[in-house]
Amino acid sequence: MSSKQRIEVRVNGTRYVREVEARLTLADFLRHELSLGGTHVGCEHGICGACTVLINDQSARSCLTLAVQADDCDITTVENLRNPETGALHPIQQSFVDAHGLQCGFCTPGFMMTTLELLRENPDPSDEQIKEALGGNLCRCTGYQSIMDSVRLAAQRMKSSTLG
């Protein structure tokens, strides 16, 4: 099982060239080969959404994606949300903090990456559209209400920052 394949990926803007086994999942690649531990693994069968990352700006389950499938792709993970210079939280992150949109925080990176995709495509989503977007992410702690609040708050803040 050890035949390896060369891949080249750009993760959060950094280019990586690695030899990987064909069976290595993208989640394991990001977490254990690149030490990007913010992408969490909750079910490894594509239901919980904790491992959601963006591949070429589209949300994807990194547990159901093989690293070799990400060859020549741009990948964005939760580690890319903070401002690398100032360390300031992204408005989505800050909104989750301010609206108490997390408890244990394990599912949160997946929710935030899904939210990032949603708000890029639809800066002013209705509640129904938020629910539709987040319907594939499981949270066992919050009961989702504060997550709804967080996403609404993030939308509001990102809109006003774009306008301002």
């Binding site: 099982m1 050890s2 086994e21 069976r23 290595l24 977490r31 254990h32 990007l36 531990g37 913010g38 992408t39 969490h40 693994v41 909750g42 079910c43 490894e44 069968h45 239901i47 919980c48 904790a50 993970t77 939760v78 580690e79 949300l81 903070r82 939280l89 992150q93 989750f96 903090v97 301010d98 108490h100 997390l102 408890q103 244990c104 925080g105 394990f106 599912c107 949160t108 990176p109 935030m112 629910k131 987040l134 319907g135 594939g136 992410n137 499981l138 949270c139 066992r140 702690c141 919050t142 009961g143 989702y144 209400q145 504060s146 997550i147 709804m148």
Partner: protein, 806 residues
């Protein structure tokens, strides 16, 4: 020195509290949203190996042979263990009641599907899993016992041969004159209920890294541990190590809800480390392992229960007969969940007499473990459903029937027949408020209009008491000894006046680090940003328990107040000495110690700490150069149980009433929650945002238990649930966005008047939804008395007549 723990926030030495009682942002969150928190699978140690576990495909089988040779020769494999190693090195885990424990891995026979049979340590998880396929296990299958009825049949196969029976425990409690109140009742309302197995399913499964130090014969376990010291003692016992040779380093956890498991995985990884010449071994449970056999399945129950009711609606007696399928042994302390209902057996009501006939049975299902609520959710579902049945039979409004039977505000402290004392409450005020925010008359009007159209719309109005701040004595019923659960902290200052707090637990989601920081900052009058909370490993932490039993927010508050009181007394002594003033003339107020008679003469905390750490020549005799204090809090005034299990157990009694409006879709059997309102009273709300999060999260889990979640086993005791495609977790589409309000009746006995509030919504929601469903079904003369009231079950119930007539 007697330390007084303040029971109201305004008792703290601070004129303007900045944090306690406010929904301040959590100190946990910046790292969590950044993805930098060290959950256990984010940690790697040098030389680390990875464990994979082979699990039994049979519910009940004798192990004839185990051949590990091919696996041992496989690429990357360093060690393999099986029952033989375990038998040599371990003993079965201790249990309550005693003697129903398993080894961490099957020895001689397997007792449930998913029981570990062998395990591999290899240089990667992928290689370890490859090697599992090379393990050859020969089984001789045995007849399984799939449920309590089979388990208690004459000549049933026994799960634990040495016990000779599958009945773990039978107790029959009588509290008050039960026979008389039932004989004198005008109505006896009785029903049978079935609560199917549900489970915790935190988003992060269990994981650990264990390293056996072969020279020191000691063990270090990093992992997602909910109760570190308890875990350390358990590991020492099962691995036959002195308890001070087991060090538990607990990491932040991706949720717990009681059902994190861990003992078996830890022991297996520890033994693999021992067999790998002391290399660290990581074990990360996967979701299929968790769903099959992880430590989170709970409450597999058969109830037969009755209320004794007078003609005017006064409920006088409650009889409960419970058969509880514990699965294959008591290793997970699922047994306690049958004992906990004693703490609030008769709910919010003045029911004068009760009885509890309790049978715990072993079967070949997976062993049961704790899950948020730990027993009362099914118990309350039974009690509250019977209240609704009573209201229907008497033609009363269910809310008014409840009001009539409530314990009244002037009756607190109130001792329930099963022995616990409720500290305080105002149930009628909670009911009034929730009926107001729900606009109950309007809901009934909406229901009437919907019924007129032939729609199945129902309303549930359910109140429960949440026993908060557990004590071991509550669990004496199943053989747990002891009174008093410790929670210890150390509070210290540095020369700059920064505050460090060391606790014995780690993050799990409830926000206790934030609560700790709020309390210490307000007591000492410092900015929350100056406070750092850290987790001490179990070898150096003070006695502690950690999360569990709706206690930690209250307990850590008590511990911090105690430590701050000690610091206060010590600082007064130092300042008095330096200022050559009488000790009684010095006070701490608003972050400064000063002379009452000359407030301009004082010292800041930084000055005092600096002096203590760097000018021992100025310290009064007997004061150490250490501006630190420890305090181990435990609930005051607890006592040993009597022969009927009665004692003052849980310290606080929060309460809540929920109102749900639901509609059942006749065509699909699916229940839609149209509106959901909550009013609760958990005393002082230390961080209202945390409380609200606990409530809403409990609602979500309650919705799951009431409508969707179920560990299904087939007739051969094979689990049919192994993925989230089978085990239906509620998503954002199923969980109602609730409307909430609260009232505040501070506890007169707890730190700052706060009551445990982590489980209340889980205690209340399943009952509320089932009551609403049965209200919806009432015009059809049908009842749903089984959970989950899944679309499948409800559809069958709605269409059973057509099926028989066709």
């Amino acid at each position: 020195m007697a330390i007084e723990i303040h029971t109201l926030p305004e008792h703290m030495p601070n004129d303007a509290l900045r944090y306690v009682g406010k929904p301040v942002n959590r100190v946990e969150d910046p790292a969590l949203v950044s993805g930098t928190v060290q959950f256990i699978d984010n940690l790697s140690l040098p030389g680390m190996l990875h464990c994979a576990i082979l699990r039994s495909p049979h519910p009940h089988a004798r192990i004839v042979s185990v051949d590990v040779s091919a696996a041992l020769a496989a690429e990357g494999v360093v060690a393999v263990i099986s029952g033989e190693d375990v038998k040599r090195w371990c003993v079965p885990g201790f249990t309550a009641p005693e003697g129903w424990g398993n080894y961490c891995m099957a020895v001689d026979k397997v007792r449930f599907v998913g029981e570990p049979v062998a395990a591999v340590a290899a240089t990667s998880r992928y290689l370890a899993e490859d090697a599992l396929e090379l393990l050859h296990i020969e089984y001789e299958t045995l007849t399984p016992v799939c449920n309590p009825e089979q388990a208690m049949a004459p000549d049933a196969p026994v799960v634990f041969e040495e016990r000779g029976t599958n009945v773990m425990l039978h107790r029959d409690y009588t509290w008050g004159e039960v026979d008389r109140v039932f004989a004198e009742a005008d109505h006896i309302i009785s029903r049978r209920f079935r609560w199917n197995r549900v489970g915790a399913n935190p988003t992060e499964t269990f994981g650990c890294i264990c390293q056996w130090d072969l020279a020191d014969n000691s063990l270090t376990c990093h992992g997602a541990y909910q109760t570190p010291r308890f875990m350390a003692i358990g590991r020492a016992a099962s691995l036959q190590l002195p308890a001070n040779r087991v060090r538990i380093v607990t990491h932040p956890q991706g949720g717990g809800f009681g059902g994190k498991g861990g003992p078996r995985g830890t022991d297996i990884a520890a033994l693999l480390s021992r067999k790998s010449n002391g290399r660290p071994v990581k074990y990360i449970e996967d979701r299929m392992e968790y769903l099959l056999a992880g430590g989170g399945q709970s409450w597999d129950r058969y109830y037969d229960a009755a209320l004794a009711v007078k003609a005017d609606g006064t409920v006088t007696g409650f009889r409960v007969h419970l058969v509880d399928d514990q699965g294959a042994g008591a290793e997970g302390y699922g047994t306690i969940s049958a004992a906990k209902p004693l703490a609030a057996f008769t709910g919010n009501y003045r029911i004068e007499a009760a009885s509890y006939d309790l049978t715990l049975v072993a079967t070949n299902r997976a062993p049961t473990y704790p899950y948020r609520g730990y027993g009362p959710p099914p118990h309350n579902l039974v009690l509250e459903s019977l209240m609704d049945c009573t209201a229907r039979e008497l033609g009363m409004d269910p809310a008014e029937l409840r009001r009539q039977n409530f314990i009244r505000p002037e009756q607190f402290p109130y001792t329930v027949p099963s022995g616990n004392e409720y500290d305080s409450g105002n149930y009628e005020a909670v009911l009034d408020r929730v009926l107001e925010i729900a606009d109950y008359p309007a809901l009934r009007a909406r229901q009437a209009a919907a019924r007129a159209e032939g729609r199945l719309v129902g309303i549930g109005v359910v109140g429960t008491v949440e026993p908060g701040v557990f004590d071991w004595n509550a669990y004496a019923t199943v053989g747990v000894p002891g009174v008093g659960v410790p929670e210890g902290v150390k509070v210290g200052l540095d020369v700059f006046g920064n505050v460090s707090v060391a606790v014995g637990f780690s993050l799990q989601g409830q926000g206790q680090f934030t609560v700790a920081a709020q309390v210490v900052a307000d007591y000492l009058g410092v900015d929350m940003a100056q406070v750092k909370i850290s987790t001490a490993s179990s070898d150096v932490a003070l006695p502690h328990f950690g999360q569990g039993g709706s206690r930690l927010g209250v307990a850590v508050t008590g511990a911090i107040l105690g430590a701050c009181e000690k610091l206060n007394a010590m600082f007064c002594k130092v300042v008095a000495h330096v200022m050559q003033a009488p000790e009684e003339s010095i006070v701490l107020r608003n972050g400064r110690l000063y002379r009452v008679d000359a407030p301009e003469h004082g010292m800041s905390l930084a000055e005092i700490a600096g002096l203590m750490l760097s000018r021992s020549d100025l310290l009064p005799p007997g004061v150490e150069p250490c501006p630190e204090a420890t305090y181990v809090w435990t609930s005051p005034n607890r006592n040993a149980p009597d022969d009927q299990g009665r004692c003052r157990s849980y310290l606080t009694a929060a309460n809540a009433t929920h109102v749900a409006l639901v509609e059942i879709d006749r065509d699909t059997g699916r229940t839609h929650i149209l509106d959901y309102c909550i009013v609760d009273d958990c005393g002082t709300r230390l961080n209202p945002a945390n409380v609200e999060g606990q409530l809403q999260g409990g609602v979500a889990q309650g919705v799951g238990a009431a409508l969707y979640e179920e560990y299904v086993y087939n007739d051969e005791c094979q689990p049919l649930v192994s993925t989230f495609v089978d085990y239906l977790m509620p998503t954002i589409h199923e969980v109602p966005m609730t409307r909430k309000d609260h009232i505040v009746t501070p506890s007169p006995v707890s730190p700052l008047g706060a009551k445990g509030c982590g489980e209340g919504a889980m205690h209340t929601t399943p009952a509320t939804i089932l009551c609403a469903i049965n209200d919806a079904l009432a015009p059809l003369g049908k009842e749903m008395l089984e959970t989950p009231a899944s679309p499948h079950r409800l559809w069958k119930l709605l269409h059973e007549d057509q099926a028989t007539s066709a």
